[in-house]
Structure formats: structure tokens, C-alpha cells
């Protein structure tokens, strides 16, 4: 096989105002013709900078300071701009993560897809447009010809990503660099895009550099995997090898800290302690040593270089030899001595009864005529019991976050009730409502946005107490020190500002703040989706630990079924404002009833090449319909493989499929229980 792209000892630095980030150091990799190379690592490990170095598109201050990048033998480092322009988009193309910001909002997609042809092939405008239609067809944009005149904002996220891919493909590149191509997308769309990339690779025989943080994404489609950590390549080998016979402890730990669907959720999740090193001042010796379970004195002294044969190299003095951590080898302490809540003996803490929330769609600047409604939540009923963790999953736009915001009182429902300990919280107003709210707290997704950047951590943690008018300032201080200890942060960090913390630490502070008032229920909206894998498991463990020690209930909202499965006792699946299935976590995974639930489970990329390769490439087709005019009858029918006429006419009601298993489907995958076939409703849920 010929090596299309070869990188040798690449070092890239980024100059900041006062320091230099050594983003990439001595990284070597190669891609052979027609293969997919997965480049895996956490954020800040240098994988994206490696990709940008190849394209010579480094951010301001970024510079390749050493090494070479060769495309079919041609040196790209220090190539003149004019020469480089001929290569970019022509020989090497790139797909970026965020298709909403990488497409030009003021140009039609037709123009944008035609642009590379005009630039590199020099054909006429007409030929370029023909080519644009051809590639748009190729990437599965329906009715491509009619779409040419559309602007990016008129397309959905999935379609925009397809357009991005089309632009990249226009000139038949030899190498395609895909930088987190599916991270911003829903799982169902992610599966479609990944499948598309696979198909395209097979048809055109191009090489793909797949940069991702998601081990599941590389498992199914990469031929080889390179793992990066803190600017260094730590391991490189075939995909199968990396999952079954990895040598670097980091690879092993990274894999072990991903929550699996079949994880025992009464035990702690494996996690890598600490945070990655600061690359402006990297430690001497092995960069993973401070977080490594197998570290020895010599790891701190000198830095290991990549060693091994052609097929497998790893940079470690003490490589692991026995493959992935076996479940029983991971620390499996239980979270504490609490009885499992089976949801029967406990009184209901929170009842959501037939909740409806719509948002008006207005037009006109002054009169704001109502022209429609976004049906965010359409009649959802559920019950959360004391000390229970309830998980809510669904694609973005399914109304799960709105439901969470209504529960904590950030939005008022159009109709329906929310009962906390039997009391309707929306019967209160003003200060009484504010007082009632202390039992319902929230944890937010974005660790950067959820803490006031102008407040010190001490003030952030005291604020809930001041608002609720409890405790003297001395007691408040004691309480905040205690909270910091509980979430595993040093108490001297109280004097710091939020921007001085890493994402995981900020999420801990957010959790501490939610805990301050000793709430009975915390609504956690995507609590870990902004975090890296190794940090994610730390926060998940922390959440679970605190839930046990504080005997709270959680409502965990996430698009990630594995995360919800690990945390939650019971899981509700939402689709377009409706609850379609509700069951205990194990059951939803082993015996899904609703086709949508099964589709979700199937589309999650698992970090296991065996399963991923064998997986039937059956993905949920299409995209989420508009919540402004949801489909009649069963809302999932437009994407459902089992849909029949009745699905469009009659809305399915929740039916019982087990002791506490409900689903709303006319053609369920499992036969319902005879006794409860009606929608006798929420009282049983």
C-alpha cells in the first residue's frame, strides 16, 4: 500500500500573549491509500491542531515548528501560500465539526458547493453547478437540484453536514480530514452521516483521517487507530488491536471509563483521576504519568518514545499486556449502602400530570401576530419517587429540556400540573413560588455559561443561601467549604473565578451550587455532554455518590442513552414532545418495545469493533419532523419502519408491557400485557 499522507515528528506551537502552548509535539502518522485512520483523544490533546497543521489553517499564533508533512512525497510544511491553496480543497479536503458556522450564511449552498470546482478545475459556471448537483445527490441531499438556491439556515443540521461533505468531495480529494464530523449531531443523524462517509470511502477509495473523541465512532469504521494524549502520540495500531490488546495505560483507561449499556450501575464507573496537563508548561517525563495507575519512578524522569513493531507502537515504559480492563478489575465499589429504589415503596416526590408547553411562533416586528406554535411538550405525565433517578432521553428538539425547565419553574406550562409532594407548584406566585423552588434545583449542560463569570466561587455557592434568606454569613462560609469538599475540590479554590477552572471542575461547582439548598430533586440537563470522556466518568461517579449521600432524586436529561442508563433507575424516552416509552433501565435496553427506542439503541456507536462491524447498518432514516406541525397520529410514524395506516389516524396510547414498563405504539416489538391495554394513564406510571 502506498502512503498517501505521511507526517513525521510534527511539532506545532501556539503563541499566546504570555506563553506558548506546545499543542503538538513529535507526532508521526501515516495514512495509506483508501484507508480510514482514526485519530482519537480528549479535547486539548492536539488532534485537531494536527489536522489543521496538515491544511496549514492554524489559528492565530499557531505555527509548525518542526517535522514534515508529505502528501504523496510532496512536502507541505512551509509551502508557499499559492501552492498550498492549490492543494487545499483539491487534494486534501476537510469537514469541520460545526456545520452551522463553517458554511457561509450569505451564499446559497449551490454557490458554495460549486466554488471548489471553479477554483480548482477552472470549468465554466454551468459545469460547476452540474458537478454541485452531482455531489449533492451523492451525499444524499434529497432533490438536490431544487436545493441549490437554499441558504444554509434553511437546512437542518444533518443536511448542512451533508452539504459540507459535498463541498469536500467536489474535487475528488485524495485525503479527507473529518474533524469531529458528527459531534454536533443527534445519534440518529450521526449514524446516517457515518454511514455516508463509509459508502463514499468505498466508492471513491479516498483516505480519511477521522478525528474524534468518541471511541465508538472509530470502532466501526477506522482501519487503524492512533491515540493522542497531551500533544503526544501515545499509541498506534490496528482498530481491532487497540480495543483488544492495547498497550498504553491511557488507551486502556480511556476505554474503561466509557459507560457501557450493560454497565452495573450500582457500582462506580472507572475514571481517570485528575485533569490533562497544561501544555504551556508540560511536565517532564511521561505526560500521562500523574494520572496513570501503573506509574513507576522512571516514568517521571524521562519521556518514553514510541516503541514496538510496524504494526503496533506505544509510548510507555510499562505497557499493559493483558488487554482491556476486565469489569471485575475496575474498582467496583458500590456507591453506598442504599436500598435500590424499585419505585414502588417510596411515595411520589414529583408528579407531572398531562403537561403541555408550546411556544408561539410570531411574525411581524410590532404586532407579533401568532402564526403557529412549537409543540415542545404535548401531554407528558410521569412520576419521580423520592430518592429515585429518572432518566429522560431523546433527540434534540424532542422537548426533554423544555420539560426539565418547566419542572424547575423556569417556564410556565400551558396546561397540566406539576405536583411536588402533592402540591401544585404553579398555584403559587412570586415569593412563595421562590421559596417552594428550593426543593427543585438544576444542573446545566454548559459548564462555561452556568456560572456567573463575575462572581468568585465563594459568592456563587453562597448565593442560594442568601436568596433564600437562611444562615448567617459565617454559616454560609462553613457550608460552602463543606460543599467544595463534597464535590472534590480544594477549599482554597473558593476565591477563584469560574474561568480559572476546567470544564469538569466547573460542572462540579455547578453541582455544588445545586446542592446548597439540600434540594429533593435536581434536574440535570445534559450534565456531562460537554465534558471529555475521562472527566465525564468522574462527574458521573460524583453525581451518583452525592445522590446516595443526600438521598435526593435526579431527573437526568440526556441524548446519550449510555449515560442515562448508567445513572438512572427508570428511563423515559421522548419523541417530539411525547413520552413514547417508560421502563426500568435494564429493561429498556434488553427489551425495548417502541421501534424508536430500539432504533436509538442500535444507532449508538459502541466502543467495540466486533459489534460495530457486525451491526446491521439499519439506521433510523430521515430527520425529526418540525414540532410546529407534528405528524398526525403517532408522531414517529414518518420515520418508523413498522408504520401502517392506523398510525397516521390514531394516536397510540401508553400501554403496559411489564410491571413498570409502558410504551405508546400500535405495533410494538413485544406483545403488551393483556390486563392493561387502555390508557388508564399516569396513575400507574
Amino acid at each position: 500500500m502506498t502512503r498517501v499522507l505521511e507526517i513525521e515528528n510534527l511539532s506545532t506551537h501556539i503563541q499566546l500573549s504570555r506563553s506558548v502552548v506546545q499543542a503538538v509535539g513529535n507526532v508521526s502518522l501515516y495514512i495509506e491509500a483508501g484507508e480510514t485512520l482514526g485519530l482519537v483523544g480528549e479535547s486539548g490533546c492536539g488532534k485537531s491542531i494536527t489536522g489543521l497543521s496538515i491544511m496549514n489553517l492554524l489559528p492565530p499564533g499557531g505555527k509548525v515548528v518542526g517535522g514534515s508533512i508529505r502528501l504523496e512525497g510532496k512536502e507541505l510544511v512551509n509551502l508557499a501560500d499559492a501552492e498550498m491553496r492549490k492543494i487545499r480543497g483539491n487534494d486534501i479536503a476537510m469537514i469541520f465539526q460545526d456545520s452551522s458556522s463553517s458554511l457561509n450564511p450569505t451564499k446559497t449552498i449551490g454557490d458554495q458547493v460549486a466554488e471548489p470546482t471553479l477554483l480548482h478545475r477552472g470549468g465554466s459556471k454551468r459545469e460547476a453547478v452540474d458537478r454541485a448537483i452531482e455531489v449533492l445527490d451523492l451525499v444524499g441531499v434529497p432533490r438536490a437540484k431544487e436545493r441549490l438556491a437554499d441558504y444554509p439556515h434553511q437546512l437542518s443540521g444533518g443536511l448542512r453536514q451533508r452539504v459540507m461533505i459535498a463541498i469536500a468531495l467536489t474535487c475528488d480529494p485524495k485525503v479527507l480530514i473529518a474533524d469531529e464530523p458528527t459531534t454536533a449531531l443527534d445519534v440518529t443523524i450521526q449514524a446516517q452521516i457515518l454511514k455516508l462517509l463509509d459508502d463514499l470511502k468505498e466508492r471513491f477509495g479516498m483516505s480519511i483521517l477521522l478525528i474524534t473523541h468518541d471511541m465508538g465512532v472509530v470502532a466501526g469504521r477506522a482501519d487503524r487507530v492512533n491515540v493522542m494524549y497531551a500533544g503526544r502520540m501515545v499509541e498506534a495500531t490496528g482498530t481491532k488491536e487497540i480495543f483488544s490488546h492495547m498497550r498504553h495505560p491511557y488507551t486502556q483507561a480511556l476505554l474503561a471509563s466509557i459507560p457501557r449499556m450493560d454497565q452495573d450501575n450500582t457500582k462506580t464507573l472507572f475514571s481517570i483521576p485528575g485533569i490533562p496537563p497544561d501544555l504551556t508548561n508540560p511536565p517532564e517525563g511521561c505526560r500521562f504519568a500523574p494520572r496513570c495507575a501503573y506509574t513507576q519512578p522512571d516514568c517521571q524522569k524521562s519521556e518514553p518514545s514510541l516503541r514496538g513493531d510496524d504494526r503496533h507502537v506505544a509510548a510507555c515504559f510499562h505497557p499493559v499486556e493483558d488487554g482491556p480492563l476486565k469489569p471485575e478489575m475496575m474498582v467496583t465499589v458500590s456507591h453506598g449502602q442504599v436500598e435500590r429504589k424499585d419505585g414502588k415503596n417510596e411515595p411520589p416526590l414529583l408528579e407531572v400530570v398531562d403537561l403541555v408547553k408550546t411556544f408561539p411562533v410570531t411574525s411581524g416586528a410590532i404586532l407579533r401576530r401568532k402564526v403557529g406554535k412549537v409543540h415542545a411538550v404535548s401531554g407528558v405525565s410521569l412520576t419521580i419517587r423520592k430518592g429515585e433517578i429518572f432518566g429522560l432521553v431523546g433527540e434534540s428538539g424532542c422537548g426533554k429540556s423544555t420539560l426539565g425547565r418547566v419542572i424547575v419553574g423556569l417556564e410556565r406550562p400551558d396546561s397540566g400540573k406539576i405536583l411536588l409532594n402533592g402540591e401544585d407548584i404553579f398555584a403559587y406566585k412570586g415569593r412563595t413560588l421562590a421559596k417552594k423552588r428550593r426543593d427543585l434545583q438544576m444542573m446545566f449542560q454548559d459548564p462555561y455559561g452556568s456560572l456567573d463569570p463575575r462572581m468568585r466561587v465563594a459568592a456563587i455557592l453562597r448565593e442560594p443561601l442568601s436568596i433564600q434568606g437562611v444562615e448567617s454569613s459565617k454559616e454560609q462560609e462553613a457550608r460552602s467549604i463543606e460543599l467544595m469538599r463534597e464535590v472534590g475540590l480544594p477549599s482554597r479554590a473558593l476565591e477563584r473565578f469560574p474561568h480559572e477552572f476546567s470544564g469538569g471542575q466547573r460542572q462540579r461547582i455547578g453541582l455544588a451550587r445545586a446542592l446548597t439548598l439540600n434540594p429533593k430533586l435536581i434536574v440535570a440537563d445534559e450534565p456531562v455532554s460537554a465534558l471529555d470522556v475521562s472527566i465525564r466518568s468522574q462527574v458521573l461517579n460524583l453525581m451518583k455518590r452525592l445522590q446516595v449521600s443526600h438521598e435526593m432524586a435526579y431527573l437526568v436529561i440526556s441524548h446519550d442513552l449510555a449515560v442515562v442508563k448508567y445513572l438512572a433507575d427508570r428511563i423515559g424516552v421522548m419523541y417530539l414532545g411525547k413520552l413514547v416509552e417508560l421502563a426500568p433501565g435494564d429493561e429498556i435496553y434488553s427489551r425495548p418495545v417502541h421501534p424508536y427506542t430500539q432504533g436509538l439503541i442500535n444507532t449508538i456507536p459502541l466502543p467495540d469493533p466486533e459489534i460495530e462491524k457486525d451491526k446491521k447498518r439499519e439506521v433510523i432514516s430521515g430527520e425529526l419532523p418540525s414540532p410546529i406541525s407534528p405528524p398526525s397520529g403517532c408522531r414517529f410514524r414518518t420515520r418508523c419502519p413498522r408504520a401502517q395506516e392506523i398510525c397516521a389516524q390514531q394516536e397510540p396510547q401508553l400501554r403496559a408491557f411489564g410491571a413498570s414498563h409502558m410504551a405508546a405504539c400500535h405495533f410494538p416489538l413485544v406483545e403488551p400485557l393483556e390486563s392493561a391495554t387502555t390508557a388508564s394513564g399516569h396513575s400507574q406510571i
Partner: protein, 321 residues
């Protein structure tokens, strides 16, 4: 070590994870969140650092400090009679005793520059302060409450903005003018519209941020939201705006003075001093025009330099560590 791991039981000898995990006893949580940087760098400190790196800003700051000293300390060092003129000494060119000459009433021009500068700076700062305080509160309330109130409040702003501002100021100034305070009030009461719009825009983007939602979930009331969360975060915009407001007010008062609607005689501001510029230049009395004109330009320019640098430094605050 490898062998040990294979043979030993799980519960007795869990893998060493650097103290990250262990039995979770509520009483003894672990500090496993990683360390934090020791050096405290508040957002403000970073902003000051970046401000100090801007050469123009330092030049602007220098000019402003110089003029403040010149106007307030100057009269104590350089004594001149500014209470009664001496017509016999009128229109003297620069020379001994009068480094910058005298004006048509026989006042010493250098001393007059200092006193006039006091008025210009005071009116500039007061007017900017009044405009910013009113504008910030108005904008914050409008942005936070939203809905119909926001619509009404902003339409009010639109209406006032569409009135020829100088015309009204002139009319009001003829009736109530004369003192530094009244002129500051008049200018300030007409200048709050722009900051109100700015702050409203900022609040609109801030109020959907998660930390505001978080405060609401805690049960925070509106006044707390405004004073503890929204205004402090919009403060950077406010401060930048103040510097531009100062510059605008100084120009406005110069204009009023030039047109003869400024301070009442014998009080003086730079605008008054320029009111004779036309005839003075015709007569070749350059010392009555250039010093005061250049001072005015320098002070306004300095404010703009500072404002620009502040805007840059508060912008990068969140981008850089």
C-alpha cells in the same frame, strides 16, 4: 505488578487509581477534582493587563492625567486673575507675564485654559455619569422584563432619539443654563438613550445565559438578577461607554459654549473661549484659538483611545487566560 493484578481479588485490592476512587463514605469525600491554579487572575486583572499592553491607551491615559493635573493643580502653581478682566491688557500676544497672551477681555489665556478645562472635564464626567446610570437601569429593566414593557420602553427611546437633540438642548439651555450642574443635567438627560440601547442588547443576550436561569431556579427576584448578575456582567460595556460619553459631552458643551449657550460669565469653558475664534483668527490672534482648540482635541482623543482600548481588553477577557 502485572501478576499481582491477575491474582488478587477485586474487593480487597482495587487497582491503584492515584487516590481518585475509594469507598464513598459521605463523611470523607475525596479531593479528586484536580488542582486549580494558584495565581488569582480575576477578569478585571486580565483586562487591566491587556489594557496596559495597548500603547495608545497609555498615551490616552497620560494625556488625560496631564489635563486633569493641568486644570486642577495648575491654578495653584500658576496664579492668574480670572475674576476680573483688565481691558487695558486685552489681546496681548504671548510674552512675559502672559505665556499664552490674553484674550479680548484681558484675562490671562493660560489661566483661562485651566479654569475652562475644569468646567469641560466636570461637565463631561457628570453628564456621562448621569447618562450611563439612567441608561443602564433603563436598558437593564427593559431587556430583562421584555414583552410589552420592553416594546414600549424602546419605542420611547426611538421617539426621543428622533427629536433633533441639539435643538432641544439649546432651548432648554437658554432657560436653565449657567452652572456646571445644570448643563451636566441637561446633557446627561439627553445622552442616556444610546447606553440604554447598548445595555438592553447586552442584557438580552445575558438573560438567556444559564447562570441567570440558575439564579432564577434558586428563587432570585428581579432586582437581584439585575444588580447581582446582569449589570456586573454588562459593566464592561458600561465602562467602555462612559469613556465615549465623556468625549461626546465635552464636545457638546464646547459646541454650546461656542454658540453662546454655555456657562454664564465670568465662568468659562473651552467652548466659550472658542466663540471669538472667528474674529480672533481674522485679527491674527492665534493664541486665542490654537491652544484651547488643541487641548479640546487632545482630551477628546484621549477619551476615545481609552475607550477603544477598554473595549478590546474587556472583549478578550473571556478568550484568554
Amino acid at each position: 505488578m502485572m501478576d499481582e493484578r491477575n491474582t488478587e481479588g477485586v474487593e480487597e485490592a482495587p487497582l491503584n487509581l492515584g487516590g481518585a476512587l475509594g469507598a464513598f463514605e459521605p463523611g470523607a469525600p475525596l479531593i479528586d477534582g484536580g488542582d486549580v491554579d494558584l495565581a488569582v487572575t480575576s477578569g478585571w486583572r486580565l483586562a487591566i493587563r491587556s489594557f496596559a499592553e495597548n500603547k495608545l491607551a497609555l498615551v490616552g491615559l497620560g494625556i488625560l492625567v496631564f489635563f486633569i493635573l493641568f486644570c486642577y493643580v495648575g491654578p495653584h502653581v500658576y496664579y492668574s486673575n480670572q475674576l476680573s478682566g483688565n481691558v487695558l491688557n486685552s489681546d496681548l500676544p504671548p510674552g512675559p507675564g502672559h505665556p499664552l497672551g490674553t484674550d479680548n477681555n484681558g484675562y490671562d489665556e493660560l489661566g483661562r485654559l485651566m479654569v475652562g478645562g475644569q468646567a469641560a472635564l466636570e461637565i463631561g464626567f457628570f453628564a456621562a455619569l448621569i447618562a450611563t446610570v439612567i441608561g443602564s437601569l433603563y436598558g437593564a429593566i427593559s431587556g430583562l422584563v421584555g414583552g410589552i414593557l420592553d416594546g414600549v420602553m424602546m419605542r420611547v427611546v426611538d421617539v426621543i432619539l428622533s427629536i433633533p437633540y441639539l435643538l432641544i438642548v439649546l432651548i432648554v439651555a437658554t432657560r436653565y443654563s449657567g452652572t456646571v450642574l445644570s448643563l451636566s443635567l441637561i446633557l446627561g438627560l439627553f445622552a442616556w438613550l444610546v447606553p440604554a440601547r447598548l445595555i438592553r442588547g447586552e442584557v438580552l443576550s445575558l438573560r438567556v445565559r444559564d447562570f441567570v436561569s440558575a439564579a432564577k431556579v434558586m428563587g432570585s427576584g428581579r432586582s437581584r438578577l439585575i444588580f447581582r448578575h446582569l449589570l456586573p456582567n454588562a459593566l464592561s460595556v458600561v465602562i467602555v461607554n462612559i469613556t465615549f460619553q465623556v468625549a461626546d459631552a465635552i464636545i457638546a458643551i464646547a459646541l454650546l459654549g461656542f454658540l453662546g449657550f454655555g456657562l454664564q460669565y465670568p465662568h468659562v469653558d473651552w467652548g466659550d473661549m472658542l466663540s471669538t475664534a472667528n474674529t480672533a483668527l481674522g485679527n491674527g490672534y492665534w493664541w486665542l484659538v490654537y491652544p484651547v482648540g488643541i487641548s479640546l482635541i487632545l482630551v477628546v482623543m484621549a477619551c476615545n483611545f481609552i475607550g477603544n482600548a477598554l473595549r478590546d481588553s474587556v472583549d478578550v477577557r473571556l478568550r484568554r487566560r
